[in-house]
């Protein structure tokens, strides 16, 4: 019976951690390129052991028009690759800018990778050419001059990845160049967060109810133990 109390207590702990996951999703309701985290669940593996499973929902977020030439969104599968101090990381956040030394960088100043290394914009070509365009297949162009193509990567295993701030993912399972047919690049658009507030509220209510059940269980067990303690009392 005492074991039962511990089981229920771990249930409380798990629900509180799930609430933290939901809280983070809701806080990032308006974060560009954010991918929601599903509340974790326990699954039985093939050896009959329980395992914690945490799944990131990589579904497409809505595309919002900004008309800023250095804002890009991916429609379909794939990630932008940025060079951070922790190595190359993948992101769906295409809110880029040009750094003072001419590199295409993300909001933290990490260089955006092209297929031939970091994408550098030659200011001279900017002065001569009319427009800076990024085509549907990721070619970065000035007028008709192709500078490079954006490197669009796909993870070997999407769930084998770790989150980092800046809506970045580090692909612990490795990544490779994505298939050209799997994505389209949209210049002047940003991908919105894919958090659905209604779904999150639903999860929150569920977590709250489960927490209540587990706490009821504890008070019930506590009462039973108390009654057991009364046995033999004179």
């Amino acid at each position: 019976m005492i074991k039962g109390i511990y089981t229920a207590a771990r249930g409380l702990d798990a629900r509180m951690k799930n609430l933290e996951v939901i809280a983070n999703n809701l806080a990032n309701l308006n974060t560009t390129g954010f991918k929601k985290e599903m509340p974790f669940s326990e699954v039985m593996n093939q050896y009959g052991q329980t395992q914690i499973q945490q799944v990131t929902d990589f579904r497409q977020g809505d595309l919002a028009q900004t008309n800023n030439p250095t804002d890009v969104a991916i429609s379909g599968k794939g990630f932008f690759v940025v060079q951070t101090e922790n190595g190359q990381e993948l992101t769906r956040n295409g809110s880029f800018k040009i750094s003072d030394n001419g590199y295409l960088v993300d909001q933290q100043g990490n260089k955006v990778m092209g297929q031939n290394g970091a994408i550098k914009i030659d200011m001279l070509s900017f002065e001569k050419q009319k427009s800076f365009t990024i085509s549907n297949n990721g070619e970065v162009k000035f007028g008709n001059n192709v500078i490079d193509s954006l490197m669009i990567a796909k993870m070997n295993d999407q769930q084998d990845s770790e989150r980092d701030s800046g809506t970045n993912f580090s692909a612990t399972g490795g990544f490779q160049v994505a298939n050209q047919n799997d994505f389209q690049i949209k210049q002047g658009y940003l991908e919105e967060s894919n958090v659905n507030p209604i779904k999150e509220l639903e999860n929150m209510i569920q977590v709250n109810n489960e927490y209540q059940s587990a706490s009821k269980m504890i008070t019930f067990l506590d009462k039973s133990l108390d009654e057991a303690n009364q046995i033999g009392k004179v």
Binding site: A23, T31, T32, Q49, Q51, T66, P197, Y211
Partner: protein, 266 residues
């Protein structure tokens, strides 16, 4: 730790508060000539590894599995307050020194401290020295000066300023040049409808209007703000609801903590 969920929700509420501030500034400037709307940008905070023990592991006698750690985020932070430089509507004023840029580019003005500022607000005036200045009194650069013989000016799409002289002749008294930026979203707002260059915007590229990707100059017109009231109202509703939903998280955490406090009843 339940306080993490509270802090996460608080960061969400703070972010939405900032969002509302940005939106209200846009709405306040709906009639400001040459105003460009702002948009708040957010980014998730760092993630932490948190260990979760499977509930019935002790019952099963199963060994602790390495995949019991989950990643929990710490909320959201604002990263940028980005200007959106879409074209505003162009309205006719028939004033000869009202200029609207149709397309890319900014007027370059010289501030009294010797630095340059950039503006889309083309409501110019002539000051006591005959110089063409902005409504705040900053001179266009390169400077254009009207002399006392000038009756009226006509400004071409390419920025050529021609003055009609007393006696019927006309002469070119200067050329308006425009500045363009690689990333106009990175410009810093100075107020007074002026912007300053930053590392993020890149250095200005000066050129002739109506050429090489620069916009054309339209005399007798002004560019209205590019704020779309419907879009702002919708953004405001969304921000308010997002704020509300984050406050629901706070409420839920509180509920759960009350339940935890009630576990021990006697």
């Amino acid at each position: 730790m339940p306080t993490r969920a509270l802090r996460t929700a608080a960061s969400g509420m703070y972010a939405q508060e900032l969002n509302i501030e940005v939106i209200s500034n846009n709405i306040a400037n709906i009639n400001t000539t040459g105003f460009k709307k702002n948009q708040a940008e957010f980014q998730d905070l760092m993630y932490q590894q948190v260990n979760v023990s499977p509930v019935n592991s002790s019952v099963q006698g199963a060994t602790q599995n390495s995949s019991t750690a989950i990643q929990v985020g710490n909320g959201v932070q604002p990263t940028a307050d980005e200007k959106i430089f879409t074209q505003g509507d162009v309205t006719q004023t028939n004033n000869q020194l009202d200029l609207a840029i149709q397309g890319d580019g900014f007027f370059q003005v010289l501030k009294p401290d010797g630095t340059y500022a950039y503006s889309r607000d083309g409501s110019f005036q002539v000051n006591a020295d005959g110089k063409i200045v902005t409504s705040s009194g900053y001179a266009l650069d390169p400077p254009i000066t009207l002399d006392q013989n000038s009756l009226s000016v006509s400004i071409g799409k390419d920025g050529t300023v021609t003055a009609q002289q007393v006696g019927g002749s006309s002469k070119v008294i200067g050329n308006i040049e425009l500045a363009r930026f690689m990333n106009p979203g990175g410009l810093k707002s100075l107020g007074d409808n002026l912007y300053a260059q930053t590392d993020a915007s890149g250095t200005p590229i000066i050129g002739t209007p109506n050429k090489d990707g620069f916009g054309s100059i339209n005399q007798g017109y002004l560019e209205s703000s590019n704020v779309d009231i419907v879009q702002e109202m919708i953004a405001m509703i969304a921000a308010q609801r997002a704020y509300e939903i984050n406050s629901k998280t706070v409420q839920t955490v509180q509920d759960m903590m009350t339940m935890a406090n009630n576990l021990k009843q006697n």
